[in-house]
Every structure is written in C-alpha cells, then in structure tokens.
C-alpha cells in the first residue's frame, strides 16, 4: 500500500467554526442579500445566566416546611400604596406585561384581559392605546404612558387602574418601537393617528421630559390629572438598575417595573435584542439594594420581568426581593403562540414552531401577533383566556409548592437565604452562595 496515495490518508471530520457558525453565516448571507438588519420579535435567544442557575434548598432541621394542601401559603400583593388613594390588590403576584394592540390582535388582547381577570391579576396596555376589548375584559388594567403617546388621552388615563410610565424595555434599552406597515390596519392607523400601511416609528425618548427632575414633575402632572387615585409605575430596562431604581423612586414612583434582556418586544433589530441590556438575573439584586438603601423595599413595589416562565422563576424572583413579576412571551405561548400544531405553516414561512419570531410581518398562523382579519379570526379569545388562566394558576401553585417547602406562609417571605447557585456567574450576579459553599464572587470581606 502506498501510504502517500491521497486515497489512503484518513480524512478529518469537517469542522464548523465556532466563530462562523451556520447561524452566523446565514445572517451574513441574509444581510448581504438585503442590505438591511434583521428585525424580529421576542427577547434574547442567546444562552444567559438565569434563574435556572439557582436552586432552593428546601426545609431542614433549622427550617420546617408547611403542609402542602393543608397549610396556607398566601400569594396576594398590593401595589402602589405609597401615594395612591386606590392601590392595586392582586390575588397572585404574576401580572401580564404591556403588549400593544397593533402588535397583538384585538382578540389576543381580549384573551389577556380575560385570563388575567380570571386568575386575579392585572394586564397592561401597550404602545397604541387602550382598546375597549381589553378595558372591558380586564378587571385591573395598567395603562402604559409611552414616548409615542399613540392613543394617549385623559379619558383612558382616568379609567385606568394604574399608570405605567415606560422609560425602557429589556429587549431594547434605549430603543423605540417599531410597527411595520404590514400590521397597520385601519383601526391601528386611526388609534395612532397615522396613515395606513406605513412603517410606524415609536420614539425612544419621551417628548416632553428628560431626566429624573423632569420625571418627578411629569409624575406630579399625571397624579393631578387622575386625582392622586391610581398608582404610578415606572418601567425601566435592565440597564443601570441601581441608579435607575433610585431615580425612579426619587421621582415619586409607586412601583418600579424592571425588565431584563430576555423580555420580549413586538419588533426590533436582532442586534439590539441580543447585545444591549443585562440578563434578568443580573439586575434584580442592584434594584433591591437601591430600594433597601432608600428604605423603600416593600414600600415601592418591584415588579420583575424578562424570561419568567414557571412558578420556580416566580419564587426565585421573589426570594431575591421582587414583590411581583410580569410575563409577556410566556403568556403568548399559553395563548397558543408558536404551537407545533401550526408546524406546516411555520415551515412554509421558512421557520419552525418555537423559533417563529417574525411577529412584525403580521402572518402569525396562531392569529395572535397579527392584524389580518382571517388569521385573527382563528384565535378564540374565550379559549385563550381560559388557557392563560390555567397557566397562571399552575405557576402560582408551583411557586406555593416551593414556598411551603421552604417553610414560608407567603410568597413574600421567600428570601435569598433559601437559595444556592449552580454556577459562578449566577452566584456573582444574584449574590447567592455557590452550592456547597458559603461564598459568592464579590462577597464582602472575602479575598476573592
């Protein structure tokens, strides 16, 4: 045998580059073909340190558990009692995050209201104003006050149960909204006072205030208009949580909504979603620290969002100091978004169930992220509401299960000392000891 004959040389396995992966290469080819960045919906898809990297220790000799199904574990939360005459009382600490009519169909907004109301929690408007469907079907409705002020009017402001001033959102801290022409139906165009069919750009900054001193006056104005009756939330992205929470509280917020980078959006640049912002796990402790330093923890409520999926996530968020959480993407999945039953239609669009994120194109086969009348008609808001209620109930039961195992008779009694971290990153971000140790990176008075 001639060992120098190329036919006799063993071949190496073709090796894909970790840097130039098939995903990366496909994006390069797409960019080269179109000349425009990729726009999509949803939140960060990259792998991030998350609540999955934390575990509860459960009960032991020093902590005794509560009996499941027998001993009470409370789940209620009151939001906005600091300044508002009518604070919000919720049965469960899992709220529905702001999502716009425009991004979502009317029936989908109705389903969010139905499901949230049946589960005893609140839902939230979005960039586009308040629809009669969501007001009618939401016992507790939070009205977002956004930079675009699309549809903003004092009548809706006064029929809201709370006002949420949106400064930022986790998917795109520092970015405005984007609703492309395909989704601008007659009704959406009328609500936003813009021509039908054009790309709508929502501003990234508020038009009539800049900075924390102005925000304080803006909050005063909103309180005066609403007679100091309803709570005023300030929603911030997970950018600089310690300082942003401090400034929001200083400006007079009743509650702070903090949205990490796993939080979704209806549409923005993929590069924004994946490369700007901080993971939800990383932003909660600085936010809680800010509230504690001000003596405002549990007085100004902290609502955490961005990738919350289960009762375990709820329990972990609350153990780290949140008063409540908000869900967006998970709620859409509960309604039927990305359901494998539409696989053939996803395939026809060049994607697959679970990966579909071209929400801005308005072709959602599940009839949720669309304004197409035929697609919207596929979605049953009553059935959707029932599914959301079920999901919220399951999340609550899961969180209660964990809380009882930790010996807590209220979800709010969960505490950081109930947790351990599985990774160094999670330990550092959450300031929770690495499992099997009493140490985390950055722990005061340690040499590491």
């Amino acid at each position: 045998m001639n060992q120098h004959d190329p036919k006799n040389i063993p071949q190496t396995t073709p090796r894909q580059s970790a840097t130039f992966s098939p995903d990366v290469n496909s994006e390069i080819r797409r960019a080269a073909a179109t000349g425009i960045y990729d726009i999509r919906g949803g939140g960060a898809k990259r792998s991030l340190p998350s609540f999955d990297d934390l575990l509860f220790m459960g009960a032991s000799i020093s902590r005794y558990p509560l009996e499941g199904y027998r001993e009470k574990c409370e789940t209620s939360v009151t939001i906005g009692g600091l300044h508002a005459e009518n604070p919000i009382h919720l049965d469960i600490p899992i709220t529905i995050a702001g999502m716009s009519f425009g991004a979502l169909s009317g029936p989908a907004k109705e389903a969010l209201g139905r499901g949230a109301t049946a589960a005893g929690t609140s839902t939230t408007t979005g960039d586009g104003g308040m629809t009669s469907e969501e007001r009618g079907h939401s016992k507790t409705l939070v009205y977002q006050y956004l930079p675009s002020r699309y549809g903003m009017n004092p009548d809706d402001l006064r029929r809201a149960d709370a006002i949420e001033i949106v400064v930022g959102q986790g998917a795109k801290p520092g970015g405005g909204g984007m609703l492309l022409g395909q989704k601008i139906s007659d009704r959406v165009a009328e609500m936003r006072n813009l021509p039908k069919g054009i790309d709508q750009r929502s501003a990234c900054r508020h038009p009539d205030w800049t900075g924390p001193d102005d925000l304080e006056i803006k909050i005063l104005e909103l309180r005066e208009i609403t007679g100091w009756k309803v709570p005023i939330y300030v929603k911030i992205a997970g950018a600089r949580p310690y300082y942003d929470v401090t400034l929001a509280v200083k400006a007079g917020a009743d509650a702070v909504v903090l949205d990490g980078m796993q939080g979704g959006t209806a549409a923005t640049q993929d590069v924004f979603i994946e490369h700007v912002g901080q993971p939800t796990l990383a932003v909660i402790r600085p936010a809680v620290q800010a509230l504690q330093d001000l003596g405002m923890h549990r007085k100004v409520q902290l609502i955490l969002s961005g990738g919350i999926r289960s009762g375990a996530d709820v329990a972990k968020a609350m153990a780290l100091g949140a008063d409540a959480v908000a869900i967006g993407t998970a709620a859409l999945i509960a309604l039927g978004d990305n359901d494998p039953k539409y696989e053939a239609e996803y395939n026809a669009m060049g994607t697959t169930a679970g990966a579909y994120d071209d929400w801005h194109e308005g072709r959602d086969p599940a009839g949720i992220t669309t304004q197409d009348p035929e697609l919207s008609a596929r979605f049953d808001p009553i059935e959707g509401g029932r599914r959301l209620k079920n999901y919220l109930k399951v999340m609550t039961l899961e969180a209660q299960t964990i809380a009882r195992a930790c010996g807590k008779n209220h979800l709010h009694n969960l505490e950081p000392e109930d947790l351990v971290a599985l990774t160094m990153e999670a330990a550092a971000m959450a300031q929770i000891p690495l499992a099997g140790t009493d140490w985390y990176p950055g722990k005061p008075n340690t040499s590491y």
Binding site: T34, G35, I36, S148, R149, M152, N153, P154, D155, L157, L180, G181, R192, N193, L194, P195, I198, D199, R201, A203, P207, D208, W209, D214, I217, K218, L220, E221, E224, I225, T226, G227, W228
Partner: protein, 227 residues
C-alpha cells in the same frame, strides 16, 4: 368669576375644584392668582370653563386639556398644553420647550416665542406662534397645523408625517424628510382661519408651507443616511 390664590389654596385643592366642574357648570370663569411658576396648574381640565392664570406657569400647565379655555397672562414652562385634546390655550408671553407636545386637538396660541420642540409628535392640534420657534419643532409631527408668524430654528419638521407647517419668516434648516410644499387654496383657507382665531393680522399669502416628503414612510436602506 371664581378667584383662587394658588399660594393660599395649594395645587391639589385648585385642580380638584377645577376637575369638579361639569359640562353644565355655572362656574365657568376662573381666575388664578400668584401662580409663581408652579407646575401642573389646570392640567386635566374636562369642562367648558375659562381659566385665566395671572402670571407665569411652570411645567405642563393645561396638560391634556379637554373642552376648557386656559389663558396664561405670563410665560409658560415646558410642556404647556401637552397632549391637549380640545379647547383653547393662549399664552400671552413666551413658551418653553415642547409646547403642545403630542396634542390631539384644540388650539394653542403663543403670543411670544416658543422654544425648541414646539409641536413635537403633534397628533391633530393646531398651534399658532406669533413669534419665532426653536430647533426641532414639529419633530415626528403626525397631523394638525403649526403656524409660525416669525422664524423657525434648525431641523424644522424632522421625520414629520402628515402635519402641515406654515412659516412666515425664515427657516434655519429643514429636518430629515421635510420639504417645502405648494400652498394651495385649501391651505390658504386653513391658515386664514387659524390666524383669525389666534388674533393675528398676518396674511396667509406671506407664509410658506412645509410638510413630509414621505420618503421615509417605509424603511429603505438607501435612505439610511437620512437618519
């Protein structure tokens, strides 16, 4: 005439009294003394009453006004008449930034000059400025009319949509996608009506109309340099 001294009564009590007025109220005339630049005076009004503020106001005076007439006998701080829905607001002096921001309807008259971002994101409001306006005015203006009897600063009408902008004097520069437009008879008619209602004797023929070139309505990578 109901007269309220703001320094004695306080902001909350004042606004509560004004908000208590209904569509059929007999107390239609209100005078507010000693505003001393306070914020949020007479915001959120929702009845056909006439409020006269004797002095200068701070932020957001007449914010979200609906149905009411508010006269400010002084100058006005930032965001005056922001998000106004209907009614009339008249500022005898100058207006600070963001006057009439995001307004959906009604008439805002500024007898003096207006600072930057006048009419930002306006959504149907009519604004008449007797003097000059600052930079970035009518930024992302969606609809309604902005009339400037004096000069306009930099970047007028940047990224505007369907709002009509009328300027009698000079325009330092136009913003992205804003262009000079033909003044047709219907525009002269609109302008004459607004000037008359705003108490200006300027002639519509002296104005130039500006508006959106509509090149940025749908994103096109070839327009990326405009942003």
């Amino acid at each position: 005439m109901q007269t309220v001294d703001l320094q004695e009564t306080g902001l909350r009590a004042l606004n509560k009294m004004l908000h208590a007025q209904s569509e059929t109220t007999n107390q239609t005339a209100w005078e507010i003394l000693n505003p001393k630049g306070a914020h949020a005076i007479a915001c959120g009004l929702n009845a056909p009453i006439e409020v006269t503020v004797k002095g200068s106001t701070g932020y957001y005076c007449a914010g979200m006004n609906q149905h009411a007439t508010v006269n400010i006998h002084g100058s006005a701080g930032p965001g005056t008449a922001e998000n106004m829905m209907s009614g009339t607001v008249v500022i005898e002096g100058d207006a600070s930034q963001y006057a009439g921001a995001t307004g959906h309807g009604g008439l805002l008259v500024i007898k003096g000059n207006a600072s930057s971002r006048c009419g930002i994101s306006m959504k149907g409001i009519d604004i008449v400025v007797h003097g000059n306006i600052g930079h970035m005015s009518a930024f992302m203006a969606q609809s309604g009319n902005l009339v400037v009897c004096g000069d306009a600063g930099d970047a007028l009408g940047d990224s505007c949509y369907e709002a009509r902008l009328f300027v009698r004097g000079t325009v330092k520069s136009l913003g992205a996608d804003c262009e000079r437009k033909e003044m047709r008879p219907e525009h002269l008619e609109i302008l004459q009506d607004l000037l008359t209602r705003a108490g200006s004797d300027a002639k519509p023929e002296e104005f130039t109309r500006y508006g959106s070139a509509r090149n940025l309505y749908t994103f096109d990578v070839d327009n990326a340099a405009a942003y």
